[in-house]
């Protein structure tokens, strides 16, 4: 289970994509996300997914991106099977599954290449209230921590004879109680500790927050943003207007 956490976590790395302004990364990630929502043929998804994977190679996070996809594979298979069972044809079920993969991998580009601090800066540049930003960034930052907690708890209860996969469907759902309760309790305790630690370091004392890092577009950012937007426009033109 440990290894699954790795696909979701930001790690400091050097690459062209990592060094971009986080706003550019957000635009790239978000535009690919939107395109995946609206694409509807296998051909479009082949182009989109190859673009996403190319970005994965450029930013050296392809391996972890694939881990994220492996992580979601259960859902992909579920979506595929349910669509088939409900009576949609094979092509449509494949498209829906590909769309799910594209959505996940396109959004993972941003999260795998931008640190929580960069996320913080981006949200601040959008002039959102700081309390909201803080809550969101903390939530993102704590995903791997809570995942590790969950692994520990599962190990702990299995050592006390809990067999999660045993019994009928109702029994199986009940089996998750000994895992969910400690997980929730731990998270509440942790958030309380965090709040106390922050308050004792004068969180919220100054009304106007300043930041050590500020965001500036560089030449590289403009270039890549233009290139990306051109490609997006080209894609839209080819697919939606020329019906390629």
């Amino acid at each position: 289970m440990f290894w699954l956490a790795e696909g979701l976590v930001y790690r400091r790395q050097e690459s062209i994509i990592h060094s971009l302004d986080p706003r550019v990364k957000l635009i790239i990630s978000f535009s690919l996300f939107i395109l995946s929502l609206f694409s509807s043929t296998i051909f479009e998804f082949i182009i989109l997914l190859s673009a996403i994977f190319l970005l994965g190679v450029l930013s050296k996070v392809l391996r972890r991106m694939i881990k994220t996809i492996t992580f979601s594979l259960t859902f992909v298979i579920m979506i595929f099977v349910i669509n088939l069972l409900v009576g949609y044809d094979l092509i449509f079920s494949i498209v829906i599954s590909l769309r799910f993969i594209a959505i996940i991998s396109s959004s993972s580009i941003f999260f795998l290449t931008s640190s929580p601090d960069e996320l913080d800066l981006v949200m601040r540049s959008l002039h959102l209230p700081y309390d909201l930003i803080f809550a969101f960034v903390t939530a993102v930052r704590f995903v791997p921590v809570i995942l590790l907690d969950a692994i520990q708890i599962i190990d702990s209860q299995r050592s006390r004879g809990l067999e999660i996969e045993k019994g009928n469907i109702f029994k199986r759902i009940r089996n998750y109680i000994p895992i969910l309760i400690p997980l929730i309790v731990q998270s509440i305790i942790r958030s309380e500790e965090l709040a106390e630690a922050m308050e004792s370091r004068a969180y919220g004392f100054s009304k106007k927050r300043t930041s050590y890092y500020t965001l500036h577009f560089k030449m590289k950012d403009y270039l890549i943003l233009c290139l990306h937007l051109m490609l997006v426009v080209l894609f839209i033109l080819l697919v939606y207007f020329l019906h390629l």
Partner: protein, 273 residues
């Protein structure tokens, strides 16, 4: 009997082995201490002892049975694992139910469950809390509760991961008493700890792990006298061994506890007169 034979382990999709070529035999009636720096693989190793993790290469056999062949529940009945953080296991509405949880999972009969829970509560001084929520207990009491909930089903092997963290000295002394009593019942206790003073008081067979390999497996006294190995594993000496270093060669062996140290020094002083 736990047998580990050329065990290699790595997490799926990881590049490096966390455990490399581990060979071990742990019999009944032993006290075993496992020490090593952070990230050296101690916890990964003990998770193999009840089948939570299965070897990538090699074998782990418990009473002759390969851990790949049976469920974690099957091995847990013989090997009880007490994890470091009580917060990772406490979930029941009452202390009583918390202890009974594992017993119910293992399918013991109602009568036996009642008897065992009652025994565990009394043994760990928790009887007055039996109807209370375990979440309201203090840190030390929670730790005792976790130990109680494992000892309740009477496993042959008891593995304790960092049992002394957050415990006051009185609790540590009590823990040593409990461990020594378990040994007299032919149980095996395996302690993973950073606490050199605690380990020294136990005088176990000591296994030192560094970077996923066993550096040394032997008698506690001889290992703590070996400076080069201790340095390699980043372990400091217990105070009583430091005292021995100072007094060497006036005393031949490091004293096991303060009382022995006292009598040794008294003997020395008498000799000086």
């Amino acid at each position: 009997m736990i047998e580990v034979e050329s065990l290699y382990f790595k997490y799926p999709l990881a590049n490096d082995y966390v455990l490399k070529d581990i060979n071990l035999k742990i019999g009944l009636g032993e006290v075993v201490g496992i020490m090593g720096g952070n990230g050296s693989g101690k916890t990964t190793l003990i998770k193999h002892f009840n089948g939570l993790l299965k070897p990538t290469k090699g074998f782990v056999r418990i009473f002759g049975k390969d851990t790949r062949e049976e469920s974690v529940a099957y091995f847990s009945k013989k090997v009880g694992l007490v994890f470091q953080n009580p917060g990772h296991q406490i979930f029941s509405d009452t202390v009583w139910n918390e202890i009974a949880f594992a017993l119910k999972n293992f399918g013991f009969e109602e009568e036996i469950i009642n008897k065992r829970v009652k025994w565990a509560l009394e043994f760990f001084n928790l009887t007055q809390y039996k109807d209370m929520s375990p979440l309201l207990l203090s840190g030390g009491e929670k730790k005792r509760l976790c130990l109680a909930s494992v000892l309740a089903w009477n496993p042959d092997f008891i593995i304790l991961d960092e049992p002394t963290v957050g415990q006051d000295f009185l609790q540590k002394e009590k823990l040593i008493e409990i461990i020594k009593m378990l040994i007299t019942q032919n149980k095996t206790v395996i302690v993973v700890s950073h606490d050199v003073e605690f380990i020294w008081l136990l005088q176990p067979r000591l296994i030192l792990i560094s970077n996923g390999t066993i550096v040394k497996d032997g008698d506690c006294k001889s290992i703590f006298k070996d400076n080069s190995i201790l340095e390699k594993c980043g372990i400091t000496k217990p105070q009583l061994v430091e005292l021995y270093d100072e007094l060497y060669p006036l005393i031949e062996q490091p004293p096991v506890d303060v009382i022995e140290a006292y009598s040794m020094i008294l003997k020395l002083l008498r000799g000086l007169k």
